[in-house]
């Protein structure tokens, strides 16, 4: 536990000691609110809901989460600090969890900074706070899902750009699995049961439940197990690649 905390603290601190954190938070806030007001036309909807705000999250996370997570392991491998880390009395699990949770917390902090949006709808009308809470939870879990995919690809390459591109592609695939056009395509090649199983893995469908205000245990289990699975795969990749 102490090692996990030490790694988490170090990792989180390193975000805020470099300009990365500030650039990311500013871009994230500009993009989320910008999309809400200028593309979704928040005011013209004349409804006290944050739906036009949350609907953008999957698409923004698609690029922003890989940007945050790409360095997690590729930088360690490139600078050789991975050799230092794994010759300290630290287990693979502690290192993986520490780094992942730190990046996830960082994304959470950025997400929390969108609170003026909540104040805005509260001022303009009387929104359903249950839906808003569920949507925030869903958004946070979605970010975690994307981050776990990014972690895995970050371990695969020493080059951060390659990690970033691969992560974006993988995240895009995970998102699109459940989107109409894509499921139609799957239906053409696979039997229905298979294509439905595949699209059941979509981040998109599982996020939609939260947006409607439903905290479904199946969606919770889905995101948690995706994260665990990706981190387990991450451990395997890292074990093989760490000394290269």
């Amino acid at each position: 536990m102490r090692n996990f905390k030490a790694i988490l603290k170090r990792e989180l601190k390193s975000y805020f000691e470099s300009p990365v954190a500030y650039v990311f938070i500013v871009i994230f806030l500009l993009a989320t609110t910008g999309c809400t007001f200028f593309i979704s036309r928040f005011f013209e909807n004349r409804t006290a809901t944050l739906e036009p705000f949350f609907v953008w999250h999957p698409w923004l996370y698609l690029f922003l989460v890989p940007a945050v997570g790409m360095r997690l392991w590729s930088e360690e491998r490139k600078s050789g600090t991975i050799e230092l880390l794994f010759t300290l009395p630290v287990t693979m699990g502690q290192a993986l969890a520490g780094k992942f949770i730190a990046a996830w917390l960082f994304l959470g902090i950025a997400l929390l900074m969108t609170f003026p949006m909540v104040l805005t709808v509260a001022y303009l009308g009387s929104p359903d706070y249950g839906i808003i809470f569920a949507s925030y939870l869903g958004s946070f879990l979605l970010a975690g899902g994307f981050l776990s995919v990014t972690c895995l690809f970050s371990a695969m390459s020493k080059n951060q750009v390659i990690s970033f591109v691969l992560s974006v592609v993988a995240c895009f695939a995970m998102l699109m699995l459940g989107v109409g056009v894509f499921t139609d395509l799957l239906n053409r090649f696979f039997p229905v049961w298979l294509s439905e199983t595949i699209s059941a893995f979509s981040f998109f469908t599982h996020f939609q439940g939260f947006q409607r205000g439903l905290i479904d245990s199946r969606d919770l289990v889905f995101f948690v197990s995706i994260i665990c699975f990706m981190l387990a795969a991450n451990a395997v990749v890292l074990e093989r690649k760490k000394s290269e």
Partner: protein, 327 residues
């Protein structure tokens, strides 16, 4: 004690480390010698549990590197090659992190970090980002991290690489001081370093141990070991060589340089004033210094220099790692 038992590591078809066994006790400073790519770093990475061996194992203080890697890691201080560290952190934060992971809390942690910064002369750069430090300071940060928890076992991969001569000397003194009660393995390709610091040296070539012994023992494998270099003036060279070769125990005599002592007035050649450097090689294992000295004395030659060669580690190194490969 560090005991390595038939450790191997293959990368594809390349045998980076091929069935190496040795053991090191406390109070020993073992120098790992070998050309680049001989398998020094790979062996060290396996002992520090970073790299899994293809076969074989090692124990550190009785703990197996495969079965109890965390126990091994907590007993070792390791300086990886080119001493990597988190470059976006400052020195103090980095050492505090290392101390925390090493299991120190609160005041003890702060004390450990302060002490080690004192020992490694890092105080003046404590709050500087590691990125901005010079190579020498960065190396010291690596040392500080490795010595922080006062481990009984130190594994140092090219500890003096990239340092200036003064810093090298500093580091060597530090290692020597620590070596009295610790068990240290260091790798290097600087031969003087082995002679200056190590109590024992292992030469590795192509993943195998080709020699193991004290620096003196290794040097004695040199052809030059026990040979005498003699600067004489005033002798008739050709006959001198012939006579020297008859001295008991002498194998052969080589003429290294021969020149006229009075080069400035080289118009007239004075045979009697010839200055020569001779190298007298003993027969295998014989000590000839005494006999040669007596002989020279009896001839009343003017001797400018008389050196008993200890042997050249460079030559041994070359023959074992390169000469051996050719055969």
């Amino acid at each position: 004690m560090i005991a390595v038992q038939s450790l191997s590591r293959h990368f594809g078809s390349i045998k980076a480390v091929d069935d190496i066994s040795f053991s090191v006790n406390k109070g020993e400073i073992l120098g790992f010698l070998g050309p680049n790519g001989a398998g020094k770093s790979t062996t060290m990475k396996m002992i520090t549990t970073f790299l899994a061996p293809t076969s074989g194992t090692a124990t550190v203080d009785g703990f197996d590197i495969l079965e109890q890697p965390l126990e091994v890691r907590s007993r070792i201080g390791y300086l990886p090659e080119s001493s990597p560290s988190y470059k976006d952190m400052n020195v103090f934060d980095f050492l505090m992190f290392a101390a925390e992971v090493r299991g120190f809390d609160g005041d003890e942690r702060l004390k450990k970090v302060k002490d080690i910064m004192e020992t490694c002369n890092l105080k003046e750069v404590a709050y500087q980002q590691i990125d901005t430090l010079s190579k020498g300071y960065r190396q010291r940060v690596g040392f500080a991290q490795a010595f922080l928890h006062d481990p009984d076992y130190l594994i140092l991969d090219e500890p003096t690489d990239g340092l200036d001569p003064n810093q090298k000397q500093e580091v060597r003194n530090l290692i020597k001081r620590m070596g009295q009660e610790k068990c240290i393995i260091l790798s290097t390709h600087i031969l003087e370093e082995v002679e200056a610091v190590c109590t024992r040296a292992i030469i590795i070539g192509e993943g195998k141990i080709v020699a193991d012994g004290s620096p003196e023992e290794l040097r004695s494998k040199s052809q030059l070991h026990g040979a005498i270099t003699l600067d004489v003036a005033g002798a008739n060279l050709e006959s001198a060589i012939a006579e020297l070769e008859k001295v008991q125990g002498v194998d052969r005599v080589e003429k290294l340089i021969a020149q006229d002592s009075q080069k400035d007035n080289n118009d007239k050649k004075d045979e009697d004033n010839e200055l020569a450097r001779l190298r007298i090689f003993p027969m295998c294992g014989k000590s000839i210094a005494h006999d040669v000295a007596n002989f020279v004395h009896s001839k009343k030659w003017v001797v400018d220099g008389f050196t008993v060669e200890k042997g050249d580690l460079n030559e041994v190194f070359y023959n074992l790692t390169k000469g051996g490969a050719k055969q």
